[in-house]
Structures are given as C-alpha cells and as structure tokens.
C-alpha cells in the first residue's frame, strides 16, 4: 500500500472507509499457524463460528482455507475442531517454511 503524505489523509486518524481493515495485513503478528487438513475436515464450521477474526474462508457453506493475511494464530479454531485427528493443527511459523 502506498504510504500517503500528511496532506493527503483524513484528520484526527479518522478512518473514512468502512471495513478497510481488510486491506491491512495483520497476519504477520502470528507465532502459530493453523494448518487445515481437507481430508479430515467434516465442515461443521465450528472454527468459522469461533474465529474472533474472520479468517476461516468458506464457499457454499464449506471450508476452502484460512486467510493468512489476517489470521493472528490464536488457535481457537484448532481447539474447537471436534474431529480426531483434528482437521486444524497449530504449527510454529518458524517450522513452516513456506508462507
């Protein structure tokens, strides 16, 4: 995102565009990354309900993946996942080489 000059931004830190948090990457804060396993997932959507962000991605009522641009790695999705073995596992970012 191009950083703008002081003359180009709204005063007082006011954000004029509703929902523009979407364009701000906060996923870099993450220590643990949720890894989704499509094979074991039963699409119960508990993770989607529990996610305090909106980082569980759905299409037609089924999980399609995780939004790593915004997921902060809290691990609630993995905790709530009811299947065994879990369909979401938390892994240390430093142990997962690719982003």
């Amino acid at each position: 995102m191009k950083e703008r000059a002081w003359t180009e931004i709204p005063i007082g830190g006011v954000i004029e565009d509703a929902g523009n948090a979407h364009s701000y990457e906060t996923g870099s804060w993450r220590t643990y990354r949720p890894i989704w396993n499509e094979e074991t997932c039963i699409h119960c959507l508990r993770c989607w309900v529990a996610c305090p962000d909106s980082s569980i991605l759905l299409e037609d009522g089924k999980l399609t993946g995780i939004d790593y641009e915004h997921c902060k790695g809290c691990g609630i999705c993995a905790f709530e996942c009811p299947v065994d073995p879990k369909a979401i596992e938390m892994k240390l970012e430093t142990d997962v080489s690719e982003r």
Partner: protein
C-alpha cells in the same frame, strides 16, 4: 444593546454556556469542579437549556464522555479546574488528536500538593503541550466573551481543535463583577448550528474514530495538528474582530496596554493583567514610560507578534503564575525568551514567579517589578534571571 449583568466568573461562563446551549455537557459534579457547573446544572433543572447533561463519576470520565459526544457529531462541552484537569490528562490529549472542537472553561487553581485550592496556572500550564488552544481571561467580561468566541474558533474548519478558556480561581471565578451580556438570539446566531465533519451516528457514511495509529501514520497526524495550530492565530483574530461587530468588544491574540513609547514592560496573563494596568495608569500619570503586554492567546503562542510588540522595550519582566521545575524560568518566560532569540533586540529580561497557591499579588508587587526594570534597563539581563514576587525570604 447588551444586558448589564452582575456575575462572578463562574456565573459568566455558565451564562455563556446557557446561551450556547450545547448538545451535550458532561461534568463531574463534585470538587474540584467549581460553581460553574452548579450554575449550569441549575439551567438544566430549570429547563432553560435543551442540552443533554451527563453526570459522570470522575473528571477522566467527564472528558471521555465529552470526547464520545463530540465524535458522535455533537457540540460538546465540559468544565474543570486544577486536579480535575490533571485527572482528565490522557483524554485531554485524545480530544485534541482526534480533532474534536470541544470548548472547556478551566478555572485556574493550583495543583496540590500540599493541598491547595487557590489560584495559580499550574493546571493549564501543565497541559500547554496537549494540543488544545488556550485563551486566558482578565476579568468576568472576558470569561463570557472568550467562551462565546471559543466555539467559533474551535469549530472553524481550518482549526478543528479543542479550546480551553481559562480564568483565575477565586479572583475571577468567585468574584462578582459588572459585565455586559448579549441577547439570547444574538448568541444563537453567533454560534449557529454545528455540523461536524464526521459523525459516528451516521450509518450511511460510517467512520472510525481513534484507531490504532503506529509508526506508519502517527507522525503525519501530529503534523496535521501542528498545521491546525498554525492556522489558529488568524482564526482567533478574525473571530475576535467579528465578535467586536456584535458586542462592541474586539479581541486579538495580545493586548498592548500603553506600549507606545514604553521602555519598561511587564508581560502578564490572566487577572494580574488587570492589576498591572492599574499600576501602569498610575505610573504613566507620573510620567514614567511603562507598559503592559497581556497575552490572551497562549496556545498557539503568538511568537512573532510578541517579539514585535517588545522590540522597542529596554527591559521586560515576564510574570509567571506557575513553575516549570528544573527549567530556566517559568513557561511564559521561556517562550518569550525563545521568541526574542535571533531578533537582534537588546532587551534586559527578567522572570518573576508569583502568586503560587493563591498568594496575593498587589499593586505594590507590580510597582516593585517596574522599579527593578529601571536597573535592568540600564544594566541588562541580571544574573538572577528568575526571581520571586511576594515570597518571604
């Protein structure tokens, strides 16, 4: 024509607030709050105003509620004094940085401890860097006039900053004076309807106030505040002039009193300016070239105007009713000194700390300062550049 009134400074501020009739007033109802809010609460109880009056549990909450109301698009006011202002501290900064045009009368009283409730400027001088405009009042008339002008200054699109209108505790706040008030319809027209640039309650154009602002944009937002302060002097002057047209009383950033030909000048703000004027009159009548420079607008500090007004003086005494501990002089003194730097003037400069905790400042004290200035005019800035007026040695 106006109405002749007998009011204390507190009454005068409350009367101005009654006439402004802001959308929201939030206030802590117990000491250190003064009678100002007591009077305004009476107007609310009597149905004289439509304002939503919110009583809160602390001054921190008073400022927080005022900030919330202002962010929602309301014309919001509060008032405080001394330690109440100290308790508001963090939200005082948030009001300014969120660019909310809140107007707040502040009754200048000492910050404890030891415990003291009387006049000095340690409360408002302490938040001179908070991003609020500060307008100091000499008497009850000015309290009334300044509150009315502050609304127009704060809400001006080139400014959009909160404004403190300050006046000396007890000396002005509790002393009845004769003043002239404007008629209600005149004030209604003067303040007009407030339309805020943003409002939290407009769901068609939703905005966020007070978001996280880190390394990438915080600095830019501070720069905007600096710009608003730089725009403010013109607005203060224009509003002061326009106010003159409806009231017959015009205002500027400064008031030059008998500065024509004055070689010895005292700089003061607040009620002490009134005391100094009486001494200047007396000494002028005796043929002495003395004058007074009253600072009305301390924030923003009218640096160039002050340097110009003092340029023909030989000796200047700056009166400070607060201490900046460990600093080379009181807050007003330091800034006057900075304003004179590089102007090439040859002025003997002395600072007097006076009146702390309500210690009385008499005409004798002012005379003594003028007498000292005779020596300083001859010998230049003394080695003891910071002195104390009215202190027992």
């Amino acid at each position: 024509m106006g109405r002749r009134l007998i009011l204390t400074g507190n009454d005068a501020a409350a009367e101005a607030m009654r006439q402004i009739d802001p959308d929201v007033v939030a206030a802590f109802p117990i000491t250190p709050q003064t009678e100002l809010m007591h009077k305004f609460a009476q107007h609310v109880a009597d149905g004289d105003v439509k304002a939503e009056f919110v009583l809160v549990e602390s001054e921190h909450s008073a400022m927080s509620a005022t900030v919330g109301a202002a962010a929602a698009g309301a014309r919001a006011m509060t008032a405080t004094s001394a330690n109440g202002l100290a308790l508001m501290w963090e939200i005082v900064y948030i009001a300014a940085s969120s660019r909310l045009p809140i107007v707040m009368p502040v009754v200048n009283r000492a910050l404890s401890g030891p415990i003291n409730i009387h006049c000095d400027h340690s409360d408002t001088m302490g938040c001179r860097d908070s991003g609020w405009l500060q307008i100091y009042s000499e008497n009850a008339q000015e309290v009334y006039d300044n509150v009315l002008q502050a609304i127009r200054i704060a809400e001006h699109p080139d400014v959009l900053l909160p404004v403190m209108v300050t006046f000396d505790g007890f000396i002005l706040s509790h002393t009845a004076e004769i003043l002239e008030g404007l008629e209600d319809p005149v004030v209604r027209k003067w303040v007009g309807d407030y339309e805020s640039k943003y409002t939290l309650l407009n769901t068609d154009e939703p905005v966020t106030y007070g978001p996280l602002d880190l390394q990438d944009y915080y600095f830019e937002h501070k720069r905007q505040q600096i710009e608003a302060m730089r725009n403010a002097p013109k607005v203060v002057r224009d509003v002061g002039k326009a106010y003159g047209e409806i009231s017959g009383r015009s205002y500027d950033l400064l008031e030059a009193y008998e500065l024509e030909g004055a070689t010895r000048v005292i700089v003061a703000l607040g009620s002490t300016a009134g005391t100094a004027k009486a001494v200047v009159d007396e000494m002028r009548a005796a043929g002495e070239a003395v004058g007074l420079l009253k600072i009305r607008c301390f924030r923003p500090f009218p640096e160039a105007e002050i340097a110009e007004k003092l340029s023909r003086a030989k000796a200047v005494a700056v009166l400070d009713r607060s201490v900046s501990f460990g600093a080379p002089g009181g807050p007003v003194h330091k800034e006057i000194k900075a304003a004179l730097y590089g102007t090439g003037c040859d002025i003997g400069l002395v600072n007097y700390i006076y009146g702390l905790g309500g210690r009385d400042v008499s005409m004798d004290h002012i005379r003594q300062a003028f007498t000292d200035l005779t020596t300083i005019a001859r010998e230049g800035t003394p080695s003891d550049g910071v002195r104390f007026l009215g202190l027992r040695d």
